[in-house]
């Protein structure tokens, strides 16, 4: 079906149009124009829900480069549908929010919306592509648009730093992923993801299987900000808040999760996959929440919380992949629930975290700061915002009656199940999962509460704020209100979501389990008094205690000083690689022409001479030579003496004249070798060249003596003799090895073919006229070059102006 292709391209094409629309209608706020695109996309993908929920998929392919198996192939199943709805849905709300967040007068809106739409199209491309290479293309396009959006306020140093950092890390991971894709392609001889999934069994013992797995995970981990690559996400918060809400919490950072989910049918069941995904995920979950607590900037806090939540989902995908170990069986169906929980939390996270980002944006907008040390007591001034923040953060903390509670409970169930796994040596290490998850959840609770209490409760201190706080306009509140409505609705009607979206996605990720009893669980808020509920209760109780005693135990963070952080490591690496490459380059790029020529000639000698020598193709066969007459011998002698004479010429005039002698002797040789055209040309050209040399000498000083020391001369002599010898060897070998029939006899029919008797001229004018035409163009360019070099001069001081 072509239409899906069109819907991927619509945002990208609109992105190109946005600047023109902005120019044409300067009175419009471009956000309203842009808003039409995600709404259109959203309604289109909503209309596909009935098809997908009936467990069908929509595919389509447009051939692009057939020879490389590169097709613009799309594949819409339950998994990609969830993502498309998130992209288009959150996209619409974010664009709506941004209309009130970014002022038309101050900001360059055409850039902003063009980048945003570019991202939207690229992200849709990522989740819908079925072709590995196209997927990679869109993947990097999301990195690029993210780079542009983070650097939107490019006059800030921190924005540029954050943009560069995120770009280096995500693109670096993307390149690793590309290598992994190529390995997959080598193993399966196809670029189609679905075909690769079908070939799963035949590639599992391939020696490239594990390397490909690790490389693809590198791509997913960098994109989804998993430890230790998470360091880019906090710096990415320099972007405008709508961007943070959209790219850096709801969509782009989940591309890594998408990739993991998409490749679970290929790699799932492999121990390396299980341990990497779940291990890195659970540790990221803990580390993110632990670090979030110490943050003073609300957005940084949310960034670390996003890292933590991403880790949570990542670990769930990892745990769920265990279900594929040893094929589908009713015993291991319990492990599939982890993936279900991951998908459910994916949707929930997008709702509550999107709302929280927007709330923080409102506070920032209304108060002028995001620093919790300055904030406080906003409850009475911003009541609606306060309500929204309560809904968002209580959901994040995993409290009822919000959707976060449901997925958090399922998360606990999943880690408890994992603890009982009998594979992958989980019996020794399995206990770690519930323990780390529980500790991480306590910190999650603490920072969620911090958002509400530190911002809105505590005493209000006006003197610390830049502006008079006031409630935001309805337009700004609309988007978070909608998201918060979902937060509550999903708590009460989770099974609707499960039936229409999660179930088809589960079937896509774990096709072997399709239609098995208990594969799609019924989500309910109340399970009776079980371990999960106890864990939640423990989280709440311990969380409240720790929150109130924060000032007593926050010394623990001094154990992780800024100096030894990963961030410093990144900065050091960047600086070291820059200075290292500068040092290396300065070492050989001396700016002295002879040095470069040494490299070039030396390399030529080494490679060509080495090849000649190693392949043993040096042949000397003078039997075919024409006889040498006396005159010719004399001329050869003259030329030899002249050439050597140039080296010893005392003045440049002598050298130029000797060069002229060489040229005229060659003209004589052309006559002897039956080439009258050449002889004529050579004579004229030599004359003109000599005149040119003499003209130039008029302006130049007499040449200085070369350095005569042996230290300088010796390498020159060696290299010169080497080059001469190499030329002789190549020429002799070419004459000795008659490997191919000469093509020249073809041109001897020139009279019939081109109507001319002069073969050389017909080659120039007819057979190879293209060469001649381009040659005259080259000549023309050289002429223009000479003219501009001599005639055009920058005005005095022009260089300095340019350098500025």
């Amino acid at each position: 079906m072509i239409s899906i292709h069109a819907f991927i391209l619509i945002p990208i094409l609109t992105a190109f149009l946005i600047p023109f629309i902005g120019k044409q209608f300067p009175k419009w706020h471009l956000g309203w124009v842009t808003l039409a695109v995600p709404i259109l996309l959203f309604s289109f993908f909503v209309s596909k829900i009935p098809v997908i929920s009936a467990n069908r998929t929509i595919t389509g392919s447009i051939p692009w480069i057939r020879a490389l198996d590169l097709h613009f192939a799309v594949y819409l199943d339950g998994l990609s549908l969830i993502f498309t709805l998130l992209i288009a849905g959150v996209g619409s709300l974010v664009v709506l929010y941004s209309i009130f967040y970014l002022s038309k007068e101050k900001e360059s809106l055409s850039h902003f919306y063009a980048y945003l739409l570019l991202f939207m199209g690229a992200m849709l491309g990522v989740v819908l592509s079925d072709n590995l290479m196209v997927l990679y293309l869109f993947w990097e396009l999301t990195s690029i648009s993210s780079f542009l959006l983070i650097a939107f306020w490019f006059h800030r140093k921190k924005s540029r730093y954050g943009a560069q950092k995120s770009f280096l890390i995500t693109v670096g991971g993307g390149i690793a992923m590309l290598v992994g894709f190529i390995m997959l392609q080598v193993m399966t001889a196809t670029n189609s993801v679905q075909e690769i999934i079908a070939m799963r069994d035949s590639i599992q013992d391939h020696e490239l299987f594990v390397p490909a797995l690790v490389l693809i995970l590198l791509g997913a981990f960098t994109k989804s900000a998993q430890f230790p690559f998470h360091i880019w996400l906090p710096d990415a918060m320099e972007a405008p808040t709508p961007v943070s809400a959209y790219l850096h919490s709801a969509t782009m950072v989940k591309a890594g999760l998408f990739l993991v989910a998409r490749f679970t049918p290929v790699f799932g069941g492999e121990a390396t996959w299980f341990w990497l995904v779940s291990g890195v995920g659970i540790f990221t979950m803990f580390w993110g929440s632990f670090t979030a607590v110490r943050q003073n900037d609300l957005k940084a806090l949310l960034a670390y919380s996003t890292i933590s939540q991403l880790g949570l989902m990542m670990s769930l995908f990892g745990l769920g992949s265990a279900a594929l170990q040893g094929g589908a069986s009713i015993d291991s169906i319990i492990y599939t629930q982890a993936i279900f929980a991951a998908l459910f939390h994916l949707v929930n996270h997008a709702t509550f975290k999107g709302a929280l980002f927007m709330v923080v944006g409102i506070v920032d907008h209304g108060v002028g700061t995001r620093d919790v040390r300055k904030l406080g007591g906003l409850l009475s001034l911003m009541p609606i915002t306060f309500t929204l923040s309560v809904i968002g953060s209580f959901s994040m903390a995993g409290l009822p009656p919000f959707n976060g509670f449901l997925s958090k409970e399922m998360f606990f169930t999943a880690v408890l199940n994992a603890h009982e796994m009998s594979m992958f040596s989980m019996d020794t290490w399995g206990l770690l999962f519930p323990v780390i998850a529980w500790i991480g959840s306590i910190f999650t609770f603490i920072y969620s509460m911090f958002i509400v209490f530190r911002t809105f409760l505590r005493p209000y201190r006006r003197e610390r704020l830049e502006k008079d706080p006031h409630e935001a306009s309805i337009g700004m509140l609309l988007s978070p209100i909608i998201l918060c409505t979902f937060v509550i609705l999903l708590f009460f009607f989770p099974n609707l979501l499960s039936k229409y979206l999660l179930a088809p996605a589960m079937n896509g990720i774990l096709p072997t389990y399709q239609n098995m009893e208990g594969f799609i669980p019924k989500i309910s808020a109340w399970h009776g008094f079980n371990l999960e509920l106890l864990m939640t209760a423990g989280v709440v109780i311990l969380g409240i205690i720790l929150m109130n005693t924060y000032r007593f135990w926050n010394v623990i963070y001094d154990l992780f000083p800024e100096k030894r952080s990963l961030d410093r490591g990144y900065q050091w690496l960047l600086a070291a690689s820059e200075s290292g490459s500068k040092k290396a380059t300065d070492h050989y790029m001396t700016g002295f022409l002879p040095n470069y020529l040494y490299y070039i000639f030396g390399f030529l000698l080494l490679t060509v001479g080495g090849t000649l020598f190693l392949s043993g193709s040096i042949v000397f066969d003078p039997s075919n030579d024409a006889p040498v007459s006396l005159y010719e011998a004399i001329f050869v002698g003259i030329m030899g003496i002249t050439a050597v004479g140039i080296l010893f010429a005392k003045s440049r005039m002598t050298a130029t004249l000797l060069n002229g002698v060489l040229g005229y002797s060659i003209a004589v040789f052309f006559v002897l070798f039956k080439a009258p055209d050449l002889a004529l040309t050579q004579l004229v050209v030599e004359t003109v060249t000599t005149v040119l040399f003499l003209l130039c000498f008029y302006h130049l000083p007499e040449w200085s003596k070369e350095d005569r020391s042996w230290k300088v001369r010796f390498p020159k002599i060696i290299l010169s003799i080497g080059m001469g010898a190499l030329t002789v060897l190549i020429a002799l070998s070419v004459q000795g090895n008659n490997l191919f029939e000469s093509i020249s006899s073809y041109f001897e029919d020139s009279y019939e073919l081109a109507g001319g008797r002069n073969i050389v001229n017909t080659i120039l004018g007819d057979f190879r006229a293209f060469d001649t035409m381009l040659e005259v163009v080259v000549l023309f360019i050289a002429g223009i070059g000479v003219y501009t070099l001599v005639k055009l001069k920058a005005p005095q001081g022009g260089d300095k102006i340019e350098r500025k």
């Binding site: 700016g591 002295f592 002879p594 020529l597 075919n624 030579d625 024409a626 010719e632 030329m639 030899g640 050439a643 140039i646 080296l647 440049r652 050298a655 130029t656 060489l662 060659i666 039956k674 080439a675 009258p676 055209d677 050449l678 040309t681 050579q682 050209v685 003109v688 040119l692 130039c696 302006h699 130049l700 040449w703 200085s704 290299l719 010169s720 080059m723 001469g724 030329t727 002789v728 020429a731 002799l732 020249s744 041109f747 020139s750 008797r757 002069n758 073969i759 050389v760 080659i763 120039l764 001649t772 040659e775 080259v778 000549l779 050289a782 002429g783 070059g785 000479v786 070099l789 350098r803």
Partner: protein, 112 residues
């Protein structure tokens, strides 16, 4: 004959390389001019020497020397003329702006 000319070409290439490695710009330009001389000779030698008549169709001779290298050399002569004259203009202009014809003194770090 071919071997003799080939050896001559080798000598010319050596001289040209030696000149190219000099510090003085004029020597470098001369070196490039001699290098193109050498290559023209090399090309025509590759086609075989004195194996027939002038490559202009007529009634008298049956065999002609190889015309293809000649066409290539004709192109090469003109291009090398263009290159040499460009070098000369470049050299001249450089001397005017910087005031030296010594490559060692031309290396600058200001504009890098």
């Amino acid at each position: 004959m071919e071997t003799v000319i080939t050896l001559l070409v080798g000598l010319l290439v050596s001289v040209a390389t030696y000149l190219l490695l000099s510090k003085n710009v004029i020597r470098v330009v001369l070196g490039s001019a001699i290098l193109s001389h050498a290559i023209h000779l090399l090309l025509i030698t590759m086609g075989g020497l004195k194996k027939g008549g002038v490559p202009i169709l007529g009634d008298k001779v049956e065999t002609y020397v190889d015309a293809l290298p000649q066409a290539l050399i004709l192109t090469a002569i003109v291009i090398s003329f263009a290159v040499t004259s460009f070098f000369l203009a470049l050299m001249y202009r450089t001397y005017q702006s910087i005031g030296t014809d010594n490559l060692h003194e031309m290396r600058g770090t200001n504009d890098e």
